[in-house]
Structures are given as C-alpha cells and as structure tokens.
C-alpha cells in the first residue's frame, strides 16, 4: 500500500515512502494544469467542502482550483458565513456537514488539533489546511516538491527556516517532512521566536541570520505573524527587519545555487527584501503552481480511495478490470519513473 491513511492531518509520522508517493502523484498532476483543457474527470460527482475558520486566499483558492481540475464540486464556507458565528460548536458544524455527504472536508482552523477532532467525528477524509501552530501539511508538501524539482532530491540538503518559528505551522510540517526525507534543518530567528524545545524535534537552532545561512542549499522564509503576536517577541518591527530581513547580502552566505522559498503572504521589507523576493534565487511562484498539483494529488488519493472502499463494500463482484491498469509494487517505482524520464 502506498498511501493508506484516511486523512491528512500532518506530515508527522508519515514515512518517506508515503511522502514520495504524494510528491510523485503531484508531479504527474502538474501536467494537467498545463493542458489547454485543464480538467480531468477523476473526481466527477464528488463533493469537496472547504471549511475555513481563518482567513486565507492562497490556500483556499488553491484547494478550490485543485478540486475543480479534478471535476469535483466544491463548496466553500468561511467563519463569517458559517454557524460558528452563531455559537455552533466545531463538531456540530462538522456533523451537519457530514450529514450532507461530502467526500472530503478541507479545514483551516485557528486552534491546533481542530482537524484531528473533526476526523474523529465524521466519516469522510479530513484534509488539514492549517491548524493553529500545529501543521500545514499541504504547504510543506508543495515546498518539498519545489525543493525536489530544483535540487533533484531532498536527502542531504541543508535547509534554513528563518523567522517566526514559534507560531509557524508551516515550519513544523516542513521540519517533519524534511527530516523524514533525509535533509538537515536549521531554525534561524531570535530566541523569543525559536524556543529551545525545538532542538528536541531534530532542528539545529541558530540565532544570528548570517551565521544561520552559511552554506545552506535552501532558505525558507516565514512570515512575521503579527496577528498571532499577543506578547512582546522583539522590541520593534524595525529592529526585527534590521536583524532578520533577508537581503542580498545575507543570501550571499548561502551556497551559490541556493533557492529561496516563502509560503506567503510576504511582508516585503520586514522579513524579505523586494530585491530577494523578485530575484533570481526566488522560487516563490513555483511554490504557488506546485500548490495546486499537490492539493490535486492529496484530494485524488484520499477521495479516490474512499470511493474504492465503498465500492468494494457495496458490490463485491463488480465487473473485472482491464489488464492495463495494474497495481504497482513500491519496488517497481524507481524503474518506472526512470523509464518515463527517457
């Protein structure tokens, strides 16, 4: 089995094989978005609910486009419009949605653990689109795909993740994914935003920006999340950007073929300078393109399998299937991909 999980809550605990399978699938889906007709009938007749309890443009649009390119129907609910504003609990909202029979629920929530809670109350796949400071798995997958595309492989790379690590679900998901795939991870930021406990997760902690970027293959910038800062983490934005803004000067410390990622939205002039954001090392737009492919892959794998399970339960002796579609053993994969790369 290549990916047997019913939900995607986080990258923590996923194996390298499972992550690779999702990335490989996403790579195949990229081609669909380059066609003149950017749509395949794969999830025709399925319904994907986007449940967003927190603002988002990129992720939500990306999930919506992904679902539509697979021919699924999409319904988007935001916190303002949902009954949450009328006092309904999360599980009640979820149960009500589940009663309408969606085939997947994509959820973003300000509280860590909300998607996990939902997964225990509904019987359709839950895809975490970011929960509190916990995880944002599809963002990390698209980052991994972007890195793999540019570097060929992930194992052996050194990746610096810079900025507000304390509040960052992107950093946590990336940490789990990168370590599993065999990369080294360096967390760079002021001690107030890089808690020492993160060292226990396997990251190297560095306080100084120039020190932290020395010899890295990948720089991943994080947004300063002003909306989550209810304490004093640094004396002023001005001071922060003087010490941690990614300038051309700082980039020069990294390897000469470094790539720079940012999950967006960017605070230009705060954590990243415009010269760098629009410069030759930036792969930020590739990330956005890959985001659609990764989300198509996740929806396809999770929703597809659910349908298969239902089919099997319903009709045990359906029509036999053409010999042309065969299960691929994991061991076959490298050879297969090599063959397609001819």
């Amino acid at each position: 089995m290549l990916f047997a999980r019913p939900h995607l809550i986080g990258l923590e605990g996923l194996s390298a094989e499972e992550i690779t399978f999702l990335l490989d699938t996403a790579e195949s889906f990229k081609e669909v978005s380059e066609r003149e007709i950017k749509k395949v009938p794969a999830l025709r007749g399925r319904t994907v609910v986007n449940l967003f309890f927190e603002g988002s443009t990129r992720t939500r649009t990306s999930f919506e486009i992904a679902a539509k390119r697979l021919s699924a129907d999409t319904v988007s609910l935001s916190a303002q419009a949902s009954s949450a504003s009328k006092g309904e609990t999360l599980t009640d909202t979820a149960r009500n949605l589940a009663a309408m029979g969606p085939d997947a629920i994509v959820v973003r929530h300000p509280s860590s653990g909300a998607p996990d809670l939902l997964a225990r109350h509904v019987d359709c796949p839950i895809i975490n689109a970011g929960d509190g400071a916990h995880e944002h798995p599809t963002q990390a997958l698209l980052d991994l795909l972007t890195i793999r595309e540019h570097k060929g492989q992930i194992a052996g790379l050194t990746v610096a993740i810079v900025g507000d690590l304390l509040h960052s679900r992107v950093a946590r998901s990336n940490l789990f994914g990168l370590l599993t795939m065999g990369a080294k991870v360096r967390f760079v930021g002021p001690p107030t935003l890089v808690p020492r406990q993160f060292a226990d997760l396997g990251a190297e902690l560095v306080c100084d920006l120039h020190e932290g970027l020395k010899g890295v293959d990948v720089i991943m910038m994080l947004r300063i999340q002003r909306e989550r800062m209810n304490g004093r983490y640094f004396s002023s934005l001005d001071e922060y950007s003087r010490l941690y803004c990614l300038s051309a000067d700082a980039v020069a410390r990294a390897k000469s073929d470094v790539i720079i990622l940012h999950p967006g939205p960017m605070n230009r002039g705060v954590e990243i300078s415009s010269t760098v954001a629009d410069g030759p090392y930036s792969v930020i737009m590739d990330q956005v393109t890959n985001g659609v492919a990764v989300r198509m892959a996740v929806l396809y794998v999770l929703v597809g399998r659910r349908k298969a399970a239902l089919d099997d339960a319903a009709a045990d002796d359906g029509p036999a299937i053409d010999a042309a579609v065969r299960p691929l053993a994991l061991a076959e994969l490298p050879a297969k991909r090599a063959a397609t790369g001819e």
Binding site: T25, P41, A42, R306, A308, D312, D322, A323, K336
Partner: protein, 210 residues
C-alpha cells in the same frame, strides 16, 4: 517479478520472437493502411502501451526512414472505475508534446479486454485536441468487450475465459518479452493481475490490521 508465482498452468502464448514478429507486422499494416506515415502520431497507454508504441516507432522508422511523433498517456484519471486504484497505483505523467489537431492518432495498448481503458483513452485524447482519425493497435485482443470498441491492428487474437488473466511482460518493464494466460488463482500480486484482485488483497490486509 512474477517468476516465483508462475504455476504449471501458465500458458505462454507469445514468446519474445512472437512479440517482435507481431509488432513488425502491425508496423507494416499501419504504413500500408495509411499509405505512408504522413500526419501520423503514436500514443501509448501507460503502462506498457507506451513501450509498445516506442517499438512501433522503431519498426515504422525501419520501413519508412522517418520517426513519427510519440506520446504517452496515463488514462487513470479518465476511467469509470478509476477510484478503485487510487492508493495502489501511481498516476504517471501524460506527455503528448505535439499538436494532435488534424493528426491520425494511433493509440497503442497491450491488452484489449473490456474496452474501458480505450474508452478512457479516447476521452483523454479529445481533451488534447481534435485528431482527424484515431486508430487502435493492441498486442493482444482477448475478447469479452463491454463497449462497442474494436482494434484496427491486432498482434494476436486470444480466446480466453473471462476469469483468466492475461499477463503481458515486456523487456522495458519486466526484463522479458512474453504473453501468458494465467488461471485467475495464480494472478495474485502479479504484474499482470487485474486490479480487482489486488483490491481484495488490500481489503484483507486492512481487515487483518483492524
């Protein structure tokens, strides 16, 4: 892969020279029927149809001295039974790096059985443009069609029982050129096995874990 599963009842119906001869003949027929290779394009259905299309490209080049454009398609996303395999089967890249409008497309697959794969391939192809005609070449036609689809070029017509499995192995993917008929009971977990059986196996595995 597969050799350890091979039982006495496996019946080899095409060996390596047989596969080669069938493809060489199909190449001749293609050139004859289309009066040359003008406007022709080969599209192989993954997996294995793409390898066969590559070989036909070589065979046609031997006859006409010209390499006709080649493409490969994964039609999983167009299948009506698609979602059965979502977690077993890696969707591979579709690449048809040339204009299909106005072309004579030669669709290539290894086994023609129910016709559902070809139906999916026709739908997929139409999303790429408007070919002038589409022709179908298969290495083996084993019958039991569920849709009104027929092949224009057939390597070998193979009368089979519905429950039997036809296993095609090719040098490129399996290290050997061979077509064999397997009784259903031997087909478990094998490269040529139908997805249905693998799904059942997966289900058993899930049940065991639960």
């Amino acid at each position: 892969m597969g050799s350890q599963l091979r039982g006495e009842a496996d019946r080899v119906v095409l060996d390596a020279p047989g596969v080669h001869r069938a493809l060489a003949r199909i190449a001749h027929e293609i050139v004859e029927r289309n009066k040359g290779v003008e406007g022709l394009g080969l599209v192989g259905i993954r997996s294995r149809g793409d390898f066969l299309a590559r070989r036909l490209q070589d065979e046609i080049a031997k006859l006409e001295g010209e390499r006709v454009p080649f493409g490969a398609m994964d039609v999983t996303l167009y299948r009506d039974d698609i979602t059965r395999g979502a977690d077993h089967h890696l969707v591979q890249i579709t690449e048809i790096p040339w204009e299909v409008d106005g072309k004579t497309i030669l669709l290539v697959d290894d086994v023609l059985f129910t016709g559902r794969t070809v139906r999916a391939a026709l739908d997929a192809l139409m999303d790429f443009g408007r070919p002038r005609t589409i022709q179908l070449a298969v290495l083996v036609d084993r019958g039991h069609r569920e849709l009104p689809i027929r092949a224009d070029y057939v390597g070998k017509n193979l009368p089979t029982q519905r429950a039997e499995k036809v296993r095609v192995r090719l040098q490129e993917s399996d290290g050997i050129d061979e077509v064999a008929i397997l009784p259903a009971v031997h087909a478990i977990g094998n490269g040529g096995a139908g997805l249905k059986r693998a799904t059942g196996q997966a289900r058993a595995e899930r049940a065991r874990r639960a």
